[in-house]
């Protein structure tokens, strides 16, 4: 069962009310009982006094008196006019006492005045019944109050929780994250921080959804371009008039297929950065760099680009090798794409504080400072470029960097030559058990 705050609140208050109510009722009962007892004794005294004032009055006549009434069962004997009751025995000393007699337990008052002795007796069970009934009657109001109080508490608590329940229903009925804020009003002050937190979360979710939608729209748009190209290229091939022309037209078709493949692969890459887990491991950056250079060397050689590496004494870092490969690989890919033949691309790795700095330095056209923030957006391509990239490389690198807590940024070359520096700063968490020596 869920821990219902409302139910527990009602339960706690209810137990307290019932407990206190019963306690008060018990006290009331005892007090009322005593009071009634005393007034019963007073009544015996009054009867005795009355009888002694008028001895011989018919009230005192045995078997006739209204006193012998059925409910209170008070017996009066006026000695010596009346015979002493057989159960009285020798207990003739004046006073009030309780006697066990053959006729049952009795409360007996013996009082003398002159020659007369008044014996007033009342069966205790009758007294008890009367006292009991009286005490119970006194108890009744407080006993009735308990359920009433519980009802009132339940209603009050429910009423206080109503805005919360209403808000919950509204949230439940929502199909999507709504545009403006939820405007959850009249919330209890204790819950307001929670409500604010939910609003904040919804806001962030909304923004994330907007980004996702924009990305999906962009992705669909980007997928359409290579498909358009493929359809056109296939048609051109069909219209070729000679085998040589067909061969000539097959080439762009193959390039188109390669482009579509690359795009779908990069879209998958981007999805994988988020979904797949990236365990932290000790990564030897220099070894990773060498591996990446070897991978890209054929392309560099083909394009006539001098691809090389500058690495100092760099400690291993605790990071994800897979994501680092994604970040640096995409950056090198880009650098090779934008660097003209005869240019150079350098992967530079240096220690930086506790962490490391990787830079991919090219001799391409560079990126204007005003365009640098835009360059990381998915599908962004630099204006005036002949290069048909997917526009996803840097976006992928940035996502991967975010996942491992690295900073990626674009800079001018330190030596003021034309080109671009992609800088990746890795946070200072060094691999355990690996040191600089």
């Amino acid at each position: 069962m869920t821990r219902s705050f409302q139910r527990r609140l009602v339960l706690h208050l209810g137990v307290a009310v019932v407990g206190l109510g019963l306690l008060a009722a018990a006290a009331q009962f005892v007090l009322a009982w005593r009071e009634l007892r005393e007034s019963q004794d007073d009544m015996l005294r009054q009867v005795a006094a009355l009888a002694l004032r008028h001895p011989g009055h018919e009230m005192s006549a045995p078997g006739r008196g209204g006193l012998d009434d059925h409910d209170s069962r008070i017996h009066l004997a006026m000695l010596p006019i009346d015979p002493a009751p057989a159960w009285l025995g020798s207990a003739m000393t004046p006073g009030l006492r309780t006697l066990d007699t053959r006729a049952g337990r009795m409360r007996v008052l013996v009082q003398r005045q002159g020659p007369y002795t008044a014996v007033v007796a009342q069966a205790t069970d009758a007294r008890d019944e009367l006292a009991w009934n009286g005490a119970l009657r006194a108890l009744l109001p407080s006993l009735l109050l308990v359920p009433l109080l519980i009802g009132l508490i339940g209603r009050g608590v429910r009423r206080e929780f109503e805005p919360v329940v209403r808000a919950a229903r509204r949230l439940e009925a929502l199909e999507t994250v709504p545009e403006p804020s939820l405007e959850l009003r009249d919330m209890p002050a204790e819950i307001q921080p929670f409500v604010d937190a939910i609003e904040g979360l919804l806001g962030r979710t909304r923004e994330l959804m907007r980004q996702q939608q924009r990305f999906v729209a962009d992705a669909a748009h980007e997928l359409r371009s290579p498909l358009t190209a493929l359809a056109l290229q296939a048609r051109n091939l069909r219209h070729a008039k000679s085998l040589d022309e067909a061969r000539l037209r097959l080439m762009p078709l193959e390039q188109g297929i390669e482009r579509a493949r690359k795009l779908s692969e990069q879209l998958l890459d981007l999805a994988r950065i988020e979904s797949a887990d990236a365990p932290r491991e000790s990564v030897d950056l220099v070894a990773l760099g060498r591996e990446l250079l070897a991978m890209h060397f054929p392309v560099a050689e083909q394009s006539g680009i001098d691809l090389g590496m500058e690495a100092g004494d760099v400690p291993s870092v605790l990071s994800s090798a897979r994501l680092l490969r994604t970040i640096l690989g995409n950056a090198i890919d880009n650098a090779l794409k934008y660097t003209p033949a005869g240019g150079e691309v350098t992967l530079r790795i240096v220690a930086l504080g506790d962490g490391a700095r990787c830079e991919i330095i090219d001799s391409g056209p560079g990126v204007e400072p005003s365009e640098r923030a835009e360059a990381f957006k998915p599908f962004h391509r630099l204006a005036g470029q002949e290069i048909g990239g997917t526009g996803l490389g840097l976006a992928i690198a940035r996502e991967a960097a975010r996942r491992i807590g690295a900073q990626i940024s674009l800079h001018d070359r330190a030596d003021r030559r034309k080109g671009l520096v992609v800088r990746v700063d890795l946070p200072g968490v060094r691999a355990i058990g690996v040191n600089e020596s």
Partner: protein
């Protein structure tokens, strides 16, 4: 007929260029709005294919500038954005028609023909002057009982002349309509094509006006 293709995606641009050449168009290609703006001022082209999503200057603003200059060259929008608002705006700015990526090339060619036809004030699909008829969709020419299919260049030449029957076109004007920027034009190329058309349809189908150029008879 000479077309200007304004498209930033190099792969799509190259493919369209090939298809247009196949369809007997001379094609020039530019990749960005600024260059397009500059080239369009020269007025060398008889039809413009304009991609809306361009780097630098947006395609719609290129179109706006063009129409503000009073240029009435037919413009077909190519757009990958299926946002209807863009197309509406493009048409309102003076575009003659549009296609949405991914489009069918045959449809694009048909729309280009239709746009050119509408601009020259002709309702029928065929061009003609009462003497010779030309079907742009099939490149078939008819003259009397004669029916021949012309080569791409021959078609382009006859098409250029038939668009304005009774008007003399100079060698330079014909070359302009038949060849793109990066095509090498031999000095005798136009003569060679005219010879080809005359051989197929009869010598008097194209008249030579000495020292001026060539023409087809005004419609009868």
């Amino acid at each position: 007929m000479r077309a200007l293709l304004i498209e930033d995606d190099p792969m799509i641009a190259a493919a369209i260029e090939v298809a247009l050449r196949d369809a007997a168009y001379a094609v020039d290609l530019v990749r960005d709005g600024e260059t397009a703006d500059r080239v369009l001022r020269d007025g060398q082209h008889q039809i413009v294919l304009l991609d809306i999503g361009l780097p630098g200057r947006d395609g719609l603003s290129v179109l706006q500038r063009l129409r503000e200059r009073g240029d009435r060259v037919p413009v077909l929008l190519i757009t990958a954005r299926d946002a209807a608002a863009d197309r509406v705006r493009g048409l309102d700015l003076g575009a003659d028609d549009y296609v949405v990526k991914p489009f069918d090339m045959d449809e694009l060619l048909a729309r280009m023909r239709a746009v050119v036809r509408r601009q020259s004030g002709q309702a029928a699909a065929e061009l003609g002057n009462g003497d010779v008829r030309l079907d742009p969709a099939t490149r078939e020419a008819r003259r009397g009982d004669l029916r021949v299919v012309l080569t791409a260049r021959e078609f382009a030449l006859l098409h250029a002349l038939l668009l304005r029957p009774g008007t003399i076109l100079t060698r330079a004007q014909l070359e302009d309509r038949l060849y793109g920027w990066n095509e090498e034009v031999e000095s005798s190329a136009v003569d060679f094509l005219i010879h080809g058309v005359r051989r197929k349809l009869g010598a008097d189908v194209i008249k030579n006006v000495r020292g001026a150029g060539w023409m087809v008879d005004k419609a009868r």
